[in-house]
Symmetry: C2
Subunit: 510 residues, 2 copies
């Protein structure tokens, strides 16, 4: 029996029948059976471009709070209509502070809520009166707390939202980040818009992903932290982003899904349109328990979730580090390689040996160069201490000219589909007086690699190892900046590059 | 049939017989059959405390070289008797430069050689005349190059060393690092002596390990990069360090072993005395090929090597990152936990969920806290947005007092053997005005954790996530410094902490 035609997940009998049950895994709320008069719900598109934002719970107190941080972030981002709300204060971060939502003179489309759970219901009446379109509940302590009365409070909130005609994001999340519209809740992000949409059941991951990946060049169309999925959920978001013209890649961190059937349809639609990269939290017993405590998610069967992802040709990753690496690969490896053959060029024998092991373990191939190719390399590379068979270990740091020559020779090998150059950041004085990482040295390397990519048509990847000290980090960040500006994918180790490329090549071939 | 009584590697018949053949895997040199009059060989102990060091091939040229870097490193380290040798110059780095070894007025025990392979034999005659004890050949391009005449040159070098009564380190290596005696070849290392000996067939790893681990508090008794193992090899080094009173932990990066039977004996002796942590390079086909090109090693059967390591109770790791983490655990986790039960405390729901998954996947256990324990925690932790079941996610950054109280409560759980506190380094302004990472905040946290460890007798581990920006890195390094000064193990992710602890606990239980 197939209840989902076209989704023959595995050959294992019986698994199809259990799919929906296992994927549908949210803690059921009382609201699921309540009937009420619903107003028409605003679309997600409206949520992402609010004309005015109220921030309830902001304060000028030393020590800060989430709401205060939101006011500061919006101000720094240049958002024009910010309305702090707190009856105790008349000013927050240099802006007039209002005693209530109703007291705000301008239009308020979006409300960020950072007050205790007990006070939320009363606030929602004001939201209805003010005609807002969306409420982001940073406030936590609802169904995820495990208390029945808190789950009931969630239901009452949803009821008010439906009657009031506004949407709820969260509760228990950090809400929206829309660079184009200067809509942020956290500082430290680049406001340059990009092609990645990230939907995250975790607020921490939603904040960390843009922050940690900024220097590697990742830019976002929209980031949505959706927490307990009381209203806006992963399925609606997937559907939206599969159609959003600003979004070319969808990334997701998911603990549990709210409605298995809808999720299946939404994921199918999204994966047919765009690359979808998914990190699933709660794949072990301890992880499942944590996920339930975190967002009240009853995580689905891992086997079923994995089978779905495979079936629908999404790219599933093990952790957020790998999610970042895969996004870097999807954004900057051009063209995406059609095979797993890799040529590795760099400095360091031991690192080259371990890199070879790691590449092969990850599923890439390092074809051995023929004696003819090796002879060509020996014409311009020093023989002493070098390795020529792939990886190429040039012992001392190569000149831009030698890098170009090496890359051009090895790129001729037919089963080489991509080229990796690796570089460690060590004390400048390690080899005497040479200024290894000065811009004078690095920019010609960047230019050489640009030329390699143009001439050979094979993508060039960078593996740069971050140093452990501040001085080295300064050099490292400058080098990373130069490579990222030239639109190269930068990975922080050969192992990470290998793992990400193995995933992306497998997806590209499927 | 057992050719090695006491080394029943596995139950698999036949594997014992093949062990020696597979483990003995060096490229045979002509010298192996040459007879000559040998002088008595200096002991390794003599090698580590030279009275004078000559550096052949140093130059004052812009651009530098390995030999020039050695002169600068020795000078910076305060080594007293440094003799640059180069007939072209009269001064290098502010020191008198000599035209030949023989022209040096003082005693020379150790010679660092950075001249081309063709010139080495003539130099060795001078070494004999000068009565040196050891020659470190940085020079590469010998047997690892694959040319027969170069392998023969190696044999001739060994011959001269035996007749001249001095030892050879290398060729194709970066030689000795003995902090206590100010003997270094590379800058950027801490000269504070420590308890770890590291023997490495790779010069890159020998330089990187002390450099990258300095900020995490690892300190070394001696580091030996031994390259092509022409004379001093891994077995002799293992034997030496198993008896060296300054060495409490032995770490090794090995591509191939020179003599299987000797290695077996040496490893057995070492592992019976001290923890031995081994990273094996060349475990895949590509890695084996690279290892052969790197140090002329014919890597042994991985299965046999792994079986040996298991049998002899060494700690085998997959890569250098893991080797570092295991060393941090061995040095700073006190007491070593007797079980795999871990309590995780920190901030961030999503990170906590993934951490739980990663802990369990690595082989640690996160026992679920009882409702009584959870109730105790709820007395002083905020309920909203928190997780109490293990991991404990406190949503907002905990005060030192709350960290102490939390740790004390969870450490009472009998099957908790270690406590992990995790902290990410994000923009200071993320949560408003709070200065998250100021010394004012961090030192009380350090003090609280010291007290937890003292009162509960359970080890506390730190997982600190390095940030991607320079400002964050400054905060991060200061925090790491504070924790390391208080002798805490610092890991850079929960995943890395989990992997290392799983290895160390398994070893400790064996």
């Amino acid at each position: 029996m197939s209840i989902l035609p076209g989704f023959g997940l595995t050959d294992k009998p019986g698994i199809l029948e259990t799919t929906l049950v296992l994927v549908t895994c949210r803690w059921h709320r009382c609201s699921d059976t309540i009937n009420y008069m619903e107003r028409e719900k605003p679309s997600l598109e409206e949520l992402f471009s609010p004309r005015g934002v109220a921030v309830v719970g902001a304060s000028p107190l030393e020590g800060g709070s989430f709401a205060t941080g939101v006011v500061q972030s919006l101000k720094e981002a240049g958002f024009s209509a910010i309305y702090p709300v707190n009856p105790k204060y008349s000013e927050v971060s240099g802006l007039p502070c209002y005693p209530s939502l109703r007291a705000i003179p301008g239009v308020v489309d979006h409300v960020v809520v950072g007050i205790p759970a007990e006070s939320v219901l009363a606030l929602l009446d004001d939201c209805t009166a003010k005609g807002v379109k969306s409420v982001h509940l940073f406030t936590a302590g609802f169904s995820e707390s495990g208390y029945r009365e808190r789950a009931e409070l969630e239901s009452a909130i949803l009821n008010k939202a439906r009657v009031g005609g506004f949407r709820i994001i969260g509760p228990n999340c950090v809400g929206l980040f829309v660079p184009k519209n200067h809509l942020v809740t956290t500082m430290g992000m680049s406001l340059e818009p990009g092609a990645i949409a990230f939907i995250s059941q975790s607020g921490g991951h939603a904040q960390n992903l843009p922050f940690f990946t900024g220097p590697r060049g990742l830019r976002f169309s929209k980031v949505v932290s959706y927490g307990n999925t009381l209203d806006v959920d992963e399925s609606e978001l997937l559907q939206y982003f599969s159609q959003d013209p600003e979004t070319k890649i969808i990334a997701a961190y998911i603990e549990g899904v709210k409605n298995g059937r809808r999720f299946l349809g939404a994921l199918k639609e999204a994966a047919a349109q765009k690359p979808v990269v998914i990190c699933k939290g709660g794949t072990t017993e301890a992880g499942k328990r944590a996920a339930h405590g975190h967002t009240a998610s009853l995580t689905s069967s891992v086997a079923v979730f994995n089978a779905l992802c495979r079936q629908l040709k999404t790219i599933q990753v093990d952790d957020m580090e790998e999610l970042i690496d895969v996004l870097v690969a999807l954004c900057f490896v051009t063209p995406l390689p059609r095979g797993t053959g890799v040529a590795v060029v760099g400095t360091g024998g031991g690192p080259s040996v371990l890199a070879s092991d790691e590449m092969e373990k990850a599923g890439l191939q390092l074809p051995c160069f023929s004696t003819e190719i090796q002879a060509e390399l020996k014409q311009f590379l020093p023989i002493a201490g070098a390795i020529f068979s792939n990886p190429v270990d040039a012992t001392t740091l190569l000149s831009p000219k030698a890098i170009f020559a090496t890359m051009r020779v090895v790129s001729k090998v037919p089963d080489i589909h991509m080229l990796i150059y690796h570089l460690g950041f060590y004390p400048v004085s390690r080899w005497g007086a040479r200024q290894l990482y000065s811009t004078n040295f690095l920019q010609p390397v960047v230019d050489a690699l640009v030329q390699v990519q143009q001439e050979t048509g094979k993508p060039v990847l960078l593996a740069l190892r971050p140093p452990p000290d501040l001085r080295g980090m300064k050099d490292f960040l400058a080098a990373q900046g130069a490579f990222v500006t030239a639109r190269f994918p930068v990975f922080y180790s050969l192992r990470q590059a290998a793992k990400a490329m193995a995933r992306v090549v497998a997806w590209n071939q499927a």
